[in-house]
């Protein structure tokens, strides 16, 4: 034991800092942590998906692919999947546009820039529950301030029940989530913008490139390493968002905002169909995994400083 300790100390003192065992040793704790909290629970979820488990923690029998057959034949599952796609794609478009506009504006020099750069993130730092209370009140059909503007400005004769009508609920929830996340995305893009050497723009100006050309030929390619990772993680995050929807609408009205994570939660904790919920979970993970693999294979990573991508 003594000898082992000494050799471990000698190992930490070893001058060859870049050596392989040291690299493994440093990343090891995080990997172990993720294996215990993600890999093991996931294997368990896969197992539960093959059983008829009802309420959490009860005995269950192995029923093979029956849950998968039930789920895939369930119209509710297919519409929830479609809704998840609309949620992710719609949200991504709105957020990207807002975030780019914000990042480009914040990248300029102006008085009060530090204040703007700090507090733009307000909607991201406040808890989801606050966002739910805030928007539920402001979007209320009878006395919400949003409807004051809707009716006084003549956008609609009658008040719009933003969160309560099947037609409006999904777009509304998408907008609220975009409102919450676009500042964070904007700051990540801003960070990318700041890493672009100013000389590139100077040279392009000298060569007579206009603002649009500079954006597409310098800004976008230079941002690629950031956009690559943010595009991947952001999509995965978006797909998996649960709390905003749950606190705003609980998936309603009549399922209008029921995305896959909401459906999983509802099946597991309100429908007491743990087996089915797990089967849906596995299908969702499989879909996201395939998406990620295709993304990594086909989306250009751009050149990165760190040579990791």
């Amino acid at each position: 034991m003594k000898a082992r300790q000494t050799s471990f100390r000698a190992f930490l003192h070893d001058a060859r800092t870049g050596s392989a065992p040291f690299g493994y040793l440093l990343v090891g704790p995080l990997v172990l942590w993720l294996v215990i909290t993600i890999a093991i629970p996931l294997i368990y979820a896969v197992y539960v998906g093959f059983t008829d488990a009802g309420i959490i923690g009860t005995e269950a029998d192995f029923i093979g692919f029956e849950n998968y057959a039930t789920v895939l034949g369930d119209a509710e599952f297919r519409s929830a999947f479609g809704r998840s796609l609309i949620w992710a794609v719609g949200g991504a478009v709105v957020q990207t546009v807002l975030a780019f506009a914000t990042a480009l504006a914040l990248n300029q020099a102006f008085r009060g820039r530090r204040f703007a750069r700090t507090w733009i993130i307000l909607s991201w730092i406040i808890p989801t529950i606050v966002i739910a209370i805030l928007w539920r009140w402001m979007l209320n059909a009878s006395y919400g301030i949003a409807n004051f503007f809707v009716t006084t400005l003549g956008i609609s004769e009658t008040p719009i029940d933003f969160l309560g009508s099947p037609k409006w609920a999904l777009p509304t929830v998408i907008m609220i989530n975009a409102w919450r996340w676009f500042p964070f995305l904007a700051l990540l893009i801003l960070a990318g913008l700041q890493s672009i050497p100013g000389e590139l723009y100077e040279a392009a100006k000298v060569d007579g490139a206009n603002a649009t050309q500079r954006f597409f030929n310098i800004t976008m390619p230079q941002l690629q390493p950031v956009l690559y990772v943010v595009g991947l993680i952001g999509t995965l995050w978006a797909f998996n968002i649960f709390d905003v929807i749950w606190l705003l609408t609980q998936g309603g009205p009549s399922g209008a905002t029921q995305t896959l994570p909401v459906m999983i939660y509802d099946r597991a904790f309100n429908g007491f169909a743990m087996g089915e919920a797990s089967a849906i979970s596995v299908l969702l993970c499989a879909f996201l995994l395939i998406f990620s693999v295709l993304y990594i294979m086909f989306v250009p990573a751009g050149e990165s400083d760190t040579e990791v991508f």
């Binding site: 070893d14 060859r16 800092t17 870049g18 040291f22 690299g23 990343v27 704790p29 995080l30 990997v31 942590w33 993720l34 909290t37 993600i38 093991i40 629970p41 996931l42 368990y44 539960v48 959490i56 923690g57 914000t102 480009l104 504006a105 102006f110 700090t118 507090w119 993130i121 307000l122 991201w124 730092i125 406040i126 808890p127 989801t128 529950i129 606050v130 209370i133 805030l134 009140w137 006395y143 004051f148 409102w179 500042p183 700051l187 990540l188 960070a191 700041q194 993680i233 797909f239 998996n240 649960f242 994570p261 939660y265 597991a268 979970s281 993970c285 996201l288 990620s292 760190t306 990791v308």
Partner: protein, 274 residues
């Protein structure tokens, strides 16, 4: 002339975007001081004569606010410390050392976000039950680290990339050991990145709702979002107490951010500047 117009346009964009983010919150902040009878009337007029602290008094009587606050602080700070420690070591490993399997490992870290929290909720609940961590704040720290550490690794990338090549070798030649190099050379150079990742972890943990609502049962162990979240059902349309609860939940993190917020932005951007 063209310059003035463009500068004006930039200001307009900044003001509009900041307004979109901040004004709704100010409106709710103001609402929390208005009597409920006014909050269920339409209109943008505010009667400044009727402003009151009643909503906060009701809130204080209905909820163990300071208990929730303390729990949230414990969870957020602990999650942040653990997350940053693991992420820092991992970031040094994937960005500054070379070994077989490094790139797949890095991709695997990023891909952890493939697995939805809600998917892990069920098995993690059972796992926590088995090890007796249900109703224990430690269970929340454990899941928060899982969801914050991988992204924190990526947030620090710019700073590790900016460390001059060969600085570790130079220190090693001078006789510094590996841990010494990590703590006295790498740590200071990456400090702003660590700050950004720390704030990211803190905010994520502070706002986390789903796991906290499932793992914690006791009133005395609840975090702020969960403790006051119960109000949404309970006080359905009592907007006075609800808006007061919203403000009381948001203010602590806003106060913290007022002090450290600028490091978040600097930490995200500074490492990448050329």
């Amino acid at each position: 002339m063209g310059y003035a117009v463009r500068q004006g346009f930039r200001y307009a964009v900044v003001v509009v975007v900041l307004g979109i983010v901040i004004v709704p919150f100010l409106w709710v902040f103001l609402a929390s001081f208005r009597p409920n009878s006014e909050l269920i009337q339409q209109g943008i007029g505010i009667n400044f004569d009727t402003l009151t602290l009643d909503n906060y008094r009701d809130l204080q009587q209905a909820a163990q606010y300071f208990t929730y606050l303390a729990n949230s602080a414990i969870v957020a700070v602990s999650s942040m410390v653990v997350s940053i420690t693991l992420a820092l070591l991992a970031a040094y490993s994937v960005y500054r050392t070379r070994y077989p399997g490094r790139r797949p490992l890095y991709l695997a870290l990023i891909i952890t976000y493939v697995f939805p929290g809600v998917v892990l909720l069920i098995p993690l609940y059972q796992l926590m039950g088995k090890v007796g961590l249900i109703n224990n704040l430690l269970s929340l720290v454990i899941v928060n680290v899982t969801f914050t550490a991988p992204f924190s690794v990526w947030l620090m990338r710019g700073f590790f990339g900016a460390i001059p090549a060969g600085i570790e070798e130079a220190a090693a030649i001078d006789g510094a050991g590996r841990m010494r190099i990590l703590f006295s050379i790498v740590l200071p150079l990456t400090a702003p990145g660590i700050a950004a990742a720390a704030i990211f972890s803190f905010v994520w943990s502070w706002t986390e709702y789903m796991f906290a609502s499932a793992f914690i049962v006791d009133e005395g162990k609840k975090t702020l979002p969960v403790g006051l979240g119960a109000f949404i059902q309970q006080y359905n349309i009592d907007w006075g107490i609800l808006t007061a609860a919203a403000v009381a939940t948001a203010v602590p993190v806003i106060v913290v951010f007022a002090f450290i917020g600028r490091y978040f932005v600097e930490g995200l951007t500074a490492g990448a500047e050329k």
